[in-house]
């Protein structure tokens, strides 16, 4: 589920590559358009036909993944506050993808294209920018010229892709390390599935467009054209009301109502040595390294951009000064979350381990894992994001035998931030700074990154295993 955005981009690559193949053979004329696609579908089915089907199915798949992507971000409430930009810039992308798809169906010039041309024109004619009705061009063959197909092909093949690429760039502009490609296995699996679909159910044209006849029934692509039947059922004007209403609702959703802003990460220059780890790990590019301003011998200091910070605390997890072993000075790291400070975290650990539990768990605020752990009276410490937990805290728990085992939980399905689980795993397996110290037995730490649907089954099993191991150790 977390790869929906990158999967959409992968599908757009398939659309682009297959589209280039179709372009080579496509003829931009009233008769040539239909015939060139018929040639590809039937004469060159082994390549052109498959390319056409991939073009169709990958385009349709984009609509599905975009829809799921929107639903996922909405359900995780990750679109308000500082994340409004990525949310709201996604909306023009949705419109572009639909215009892309609809103009593509237009180019086939079969009965569906005829229906799409007339209905789209009727929709556009509601906008008072044309002096004459665009739909009038699709009532008689004599009104239609080959140049129209050149214009549509230009829009579909050159104009829209440029806007789409720019739109994607803008959409991920505020993200650090945006994931452009999904995992290779996922790419291979979807491409294979799509190839199978293309072979079993190849995309085909319907009867050639004939403006003297009105199609009586059509095979409609419901992914792109689901609104079109409403044009005749209601009216073009009401369809615009519906579309603009839904779009406005989506665009302004981050402020309906606005989220409750959390205090952003705070820098304490006395404890910051400008090591840059927090800036490297921040998933939102909210941390800048600027020349030192306090006269200390370090080269840089950390500055948090409050417009970008989402208060995830991953920067605290990366800070080498966030260590509970400090006893000469107060536990104030170079960067900290005011609402869940490093000192506060240590206190919570101490409180949760008074009774020396076999297993101490860490879980993210608002997660189903936290709810389950609390409901089952497990010793648990709450963190804003699992990535907020600096590895020295695990060292603290285990080397002082506050608990025999530690369970770190997280779920991609309800993860409200980015990279928390990934960075934590890399820190514990000593692939990322700050590393977990070698004296800590890694076998005493378990990571329960549960399934995408966040069912607690995996967490329960992991907890049972850890409790059994801890009991055996105690014996």
């Amino acid at each position: 589920m977390k790869h929906l955005g990158s999967l959409t981009i992968f599908f757009s690559w398939i659309v682009l590559i297959s589209g280039i193949w179709l372009l080579i053979f496509y003829r931009t004329s009233v008769n040539g358009a239909f015939e060139s696609l018929e040639y590809l579908t039937h004469e060159q089915w082994y390549l052109g036909g498959i390319m056409r089907s991939l073009h169709r199915y990958a385009s349709d798949a984009m609509v599905v993944t975009i829809l799921l992507h929107i639903v996922r971000e909405f359900s995780r409430d990750t679109f308000r506050l500082n994340r409004w930009f990525s949310w709201s810039t996604g909306l023009p992308l949705v419109w572009m993808v639909f215009v892309f798809g609809i103009s593509g169906y237009w180019l086939v010039w079969d009965e569906l294209a005829q229906y799409v041309a007339i209905t789209s024109s009727e929709l556009l004619d509601v906008i008072p920018i044309f002096t004459s009705k665009m739909a009038a061009n699709f009532l008689m063959d004599s009104a239609l010229s080959d140049r129209f197909f050149t214009l549509m092909a230009f829009l579909h093949l050159i104009g829209l892709p440029i806007f789409l690429v720019f739109g994607i760039w803008l959409h991920v502009f505020r993200l650090s390390r945006p994931k452009i490609n999904p995992p290779k296995r996922l790419m291979a699996g979807t491409l294979l599935g799509m190839l199978l679909l293309a072979l079993l159910f190849p995309a085909h044209s319907q009867d050639k467009a004939n403006l003297a006849l009105a199609p009586q029934s059509l095979e409609l692509d419901w992914f792109y054209l689901h609104v079109y039947p409403l044009v005749e059922l209601w009216s073009p004007g009401w369809v615009w009301v519906l579309l603009t209403g839904i779009s406005a609702l989506i665009f302004f959703a981050p402020w309906l109502p606005p989220g409750k802003a959390q205090p952003v990460a705070a820098v304490d220059l006395d404890n910051c040595n400008g090591c840059q780890r927090c800036a490297d790990d921040c998933p939102y590019g909210a941390i800048e390294m600027l020349p030192r301003s306090d006269g200390k011998r370090y080269e840089y200091e950390v500055v948090v951009n409050p417009d970008l910070c989402t208060s995830c605390g991953i920067c605290v997890g990366a800070c080498p000064t966030a260590t509970p072993f400090r006893n000469q000075t107060a536990l104030i790291p170079g960067i900290d979350l005011p609402q869940r400070s490093a000192q506060d975290l240590k206190r919570s650990i101490d409180d949760a381990t008074v009774a020396k539990p076999l297993v101490l768990s860490f879980a993210c605020t608002g997660s189903s894992e936290l709810a389950w752990l609390k409901a089952n009276d497990k010793a648990v410490v709450e963190v804003a994001c699992i990535g907020q937990l600096p590895p020295p805290y695990l060292d603290y728990v285990l080397s002082r035998n506050l608990s025999d085992r530690v369970l770190l939980s997280g779920c991609a399905g309800n993860c409200r931030f980015r990279f928390g689980m990934e960075w934590t795993e890399q820190r514990i397996t000593r692939q990322r700074d700050p590393n977990l110290r070698r004296r800590v037995g890694a076998h005493r730490i378990a990571m329960a990154w549960v399934d995408p649907l966040c069912s607690v089954g995996g967490l329960k099993a992991q907890m049972a295993l850890l409790e059994k191991q801890a009991s055996e150790t105690a014996e």
Binding site: I118, T131, S132, L139, A212, L213, A214, L218, D221
Partner: protein, 167 residues
Amino acid sequence: MKLVGQVVLYAAFFALLGVLSVRPRLRLMADDEAIVSISFSHAARRVGECRRLSQEELMALPPNMRKPEDCPRERHPLQIVLLMDDQTLYAAVLPPTGLWADGKSTAYQRIRVLAGTHDFAIRMNDSGTSGSFDFENLSTISLLPGENLVVYFDADSQQFKFHQVSQ
């Protein structure tokens, strides 16, 4: 178990793609229906006649704007009535386009009708006179199921025409 789950998810995803890209079929009209489309643009006559300016009026204007006649730009709205077997299929009063109401009026409508032989009458008033029509065309036409009959105003011959597949 995880593999089975993945296979099921992939299968569901691609089944969804395969089905919804063509099914269910969209029924646009009944088998015994045809379409009558009325579509044209026409500039109605101007609201007033041109008036020759007096010498005093001309001299009051800047030298570069001294045109001998003052012609009002505004046009009348078009009144259109399309009848089929004496029943009104389409009737409209179409205002002229443009900020100064000096552009063409545009008619566009698609209407589903029963196929078969029908008497059509199209009438238009473009002069603003009440109770009469400046243009009229009557025709008896046999419409095949699914046929698209286009009713339009031919600017060259200044008359209404019925265009259908058999012509």
